[in-house]
């Protein structure tokens, strides 16, 4: 019997160039992320971290180069890609006049996912009781972020693209987020986290990628020493 074909990488970018008008968002990114990896993307403001995630989500097309997401073309096969990808961005993507529960339910159903995880996801993010029936317009920034996370947790996509996921969250929500990332990774999902809070994400990541000027300028594996707490990591260039 012929051996099974190897799975394509979760993300593959080769010489990827993306433009906004004439301004380069990505200036020749080469990056490969294997299935099940958790990768930290770091870099200064304007380095191209968000653009990299948006290209991976198929929101920004490439001007040149190649990109494959879960083995698919995110432009030509955009709907298949997007149903399997979850993105947490700077915006919470909520409708102000809908309640928390209605927002989560709509987002989950829109993505074609089952609604059976919604209650559990909301519980984990502390969205219970009256909060579920509260209009999004009345929520604080942190609560809106929790709702956006609840959508992601309820959808449980194959590829998680997280842009500054810890921003605006309190300590308990940060812990819940870290648990979710850990569970997603251990469940076989691929997680890419763009963050300035490297110390928080390095505890979860297997690799760190540094982006600057729209390019990947360095990569390093993150190796955890046996018996040490998860946050004690050694860097291998």
């Amino acid at each position: 019997m012929a051996p099974a074909a190897p799975l394509p990488p979760a993300l593959f970018l080769h010489d990827a160039v993306a433009l906004s008008g004439r301004f380069p968002l990505l200036a020749g990114v080469d990056l490969e992320v294997a299935n099940g990896e958790t990768v930290l993307v770091e870099g200064p403001n304007g380095a191209g971290k968000t653009s990299l995630l948006r290209v991976c989500a198929g929101l920004v097309p490439l001007a040149s180069g190649r990109v494959a997401v879960l083995g698919l073309d995110p432009v030509r096969q955009r709907n298949q890609v997007r149903r399997r990808v979850g993105m947490l961005s700077h915006a919470s993507h909520l409708y102000d006049d809908l309640t928390v529960r209605e927002n989560v339910r709509f987002a989950v159903r829109a993505a074609g996912a089952g609604t059976d995880r919604i209650d559990d996801a909301c519980d984990r993010l502390g969205l219970t009781g009256r909060v579920l029936k509260t209009s999004a317009v009345k929520l604080s920034a942190g609560q809106r972020r929790r709702v956006a996370l609840a959508v992601l947790a309820a959808r449980w996509p194959e590829l998680w693209l997280l842009d500054e996921p810890h921003a605006g969250l309190d300590a308990s929500a940060r812990d819940t987020l870290d648990e979710l990332i850990g569970e997603a990774a251990s469940g076989g999902a691929t997680v890419v986290v763009a963050s300035h809070e490297a110390h928080q994400v390095e505890a979860l990541a297997t690799r760190a990628v540094t982006v600057a000027g729209g390019r990947v300028v360095s990569q390093r594996a993150i190796v955890r020493s046996a018996g040490k707490p998860a946050k004690d990591v050694a860097h291998v260039a």
């Binding site: 929101l59 955009r78 709907n79 298949q80 997007r82 993507h93 993505a111 074609g112 209009s135």
Partner: protein
């Protein structure tokens, strides 16, 4: 596609039911427009009755612009348009859903404005089915073109001023056909003239619904 359309339409209608923008702002605006038209025409009731069909459709057209702007702004806040794109929903379903939600609001609005025309202008409807059918066809056309051009202007900072500029000329055939049909329905009988204009509305609707289904996705991606 139909599932996505139902999901989007349900969401938009729920948002409108909560915010009551249609009821508290768009409908009163339409009524105020009818009252102002009446002031402009003077106390001659026969003149007002003759002008009622055209004034009704002009008021509907202005209200459509407001309803479409509201429909677009709902998706512009908090990155909601990106969320719809990221969901992987069928763009044709999104178009049909948003157009259906706008159409449902316009139908309610037309009932209110229709009553306003009868009460304020003394207009007498003699062929009710022609009024109903033409209003429904006109509504479909306005919702389809409005949703399409609303999406075109959505990503632009000048969308509030650009939308009426784009939409009003495109919707002119609806204004013309709707007015002619209402005139025919108000003078009595079912003249051939009225049904001919109905055919124009059917063709207009079919063309713009088809265009919307095909191009809404590319417009969303490029906006």
């Amino acid at each position: 596609m139909w599932r996505d359309a139902a999901l989007v339409a349900g969401k938009d209608l729920r948002i409108e039911a909560r915010s009551r923008v249609g009821l508290s702002q768009v409908a009163p605006f339409g009524i105020v427009a009818l009252v102002l038209f009446a002031f402009a025409l003077g106390p001659d009731r026969s003149l007002m009755a003759r002008g009622a069909p055209g004034l009704f459709w002009v008021a509907v057209l202005f209200c459509t612009v407001l309803a479409i702007q509201r429909s677009v702004s709902v998706e512009s806040a908090d990155g909601a348009r990106d969320a719809l794109r990221l969901s992987g929903m069928d763009p044709a379903g999104q178009f049909l859903g948003k157009a259906a939600a706008v159409a449902a609001q316009l139908v309610v609005l037309e009932v209110v404005l229709g009553m306003g025309v009868v009460l304020l202008y003394g207009a007498k409807i003699e062929v009710a089915w022609l009024i109903v059918v033409s209003s429904l066809l006109g509504t479909v056309g306005l919702a389809a073109t409005g949703t399409l051009y609303g999406a075109l202007s959505a990503g632009l900072r000048v969308r509030e001023t650009l939308l009426p500029f784009l939409l009003l000329p495109i919707a002119a055939p609806i204004l013309l056909a709707g007015t002619r049909i209402w005139q025919a329905a108000m003078v009595g009988g079912v003249p051939a003239d009225g049904t001919q204009w109905l055919r124009l509305l059917v063709v207009f609707d079919a063309v713009y619904v088809a265009i919307g289904v095909v191009v809404y996705g590319p417009i969303q991606e490029s906006a």
